[in-house]
Subunit: 147 residues, 3 copies
């Protein structure tokens, strides 16, 4: 009995010493994400980190694929592109991305984030031509409840 | 009259359901940013996201261009390089960047951020050799007012 | 005497006008970091920015080098991989990284972050094949004290 108590107390103390778990709210687009080892989005506090979302084929189509996935992800959390504060685009063809920019801009309307675009050697799959990751932020003060 | 009231209440409810706008404080260096669809910097809460700032020509000059734009951006918000916590440098020639590092280091003094440097295939314009983005943070507790 | 007082008050006013210093908690793995001009990690508020951590040789070994350095860094702050919310991997060979992914996944267990992987032209040193940077977050509410 005493031995059991000592074990129990020891476990409690150990739990107190260990790193505490972080409260995250994840979103996944499909089962392949656990296979690869990532989540499409992780919310922590007021910040939402959205994974690199890819597109293939002609660049205008790739832009719609990538930004469509981001839009769906934002919507899951009740957000939209006005909440995106940072965009990083990695593309295999930056001139094609510049040429397809009107397709991208319609997702933002007239409210653009800070951004960085670079042309890289390759993405996850050989057919991918674009990968876009964003950081979005939840408004601090929730809307007043309508009664 | 009743119809008008129903419409008004419906609109109110709709507004309550819609995603709430986020309070952002943007800074732009020029009108080309709206054309391309980005802002040089976006502040949200205590965090400042500064867009990839570019440089061309010889690398020491490119470093001064990129970090000069970052310095100007920080100054707009009353910040300086001590407030930069993260730096990401994308360059077409990482050996040239290493060789020009003393030019970069003088911006930071002796207070350096976390950083990642990679050599990529190309930047927004063919003549760009360097693009640097940073995250800066505003001090939480404002200085006590001098009376 | 009056002159001294005026100087003193002027200095106080000047200090009040200057940008306030930010409270950062840094961690360094070695003296080469000051030489290059970065810190392995910078904590600000509840957010921990960990610099791109590199690996060389065969990819499985490179993954262990990079994630080993990240693990050591997290542990310094009392954190572990459950606190990582975002991962960015830059590699010279994305197929090799995909093939070595089981080595990477064991660091996370079954709790994966948002992520972006891209294949780039080169890293800081010619022998580097992988560079991984992460953002980790400290739990907001500290564990209740055990008495």
């Amino acid at each position: 009995m005493n031995k059991l108590l000592v074990t129990f107390v020891s476990l409690l103390l150990l739990a107190g010493l260990q790193a505490q778990e972080l409260r995250k709210e994840k979103y996944q687009l499909g089962p392949w994400e656990d296979e690869i080892g990532y989540a499409q989005a992780v919310r922590v506090g007021n910040t939402l980190y959205i994974s690199g979302s890819v597109g293939d084929g002609a660049m205008p189509q790739a832009v719609d694929q990538a930004f469509g996935a981001i839009q769906k992800t934002l919507a899951h959390y009740g957000l939209d592109f006005r909440h995106v504060v940072k965009e990083n685009a990695f593309t295999t063809d930056i001139e094609a991305l510049k040429a397809a920019n009107e397709v991208r801009k319609k997702y933002y309307g007239a409210d653009f984030p800070a951004a960085t675009w670079v042309q890289i050697a390759r993405l996850f799959s050989p057919q991918h031509v674009l990968e876009v990751e964003v950081i979005a932020v939840f408004p601090e003060n929730p809307a007043p409840e309508t009664k």
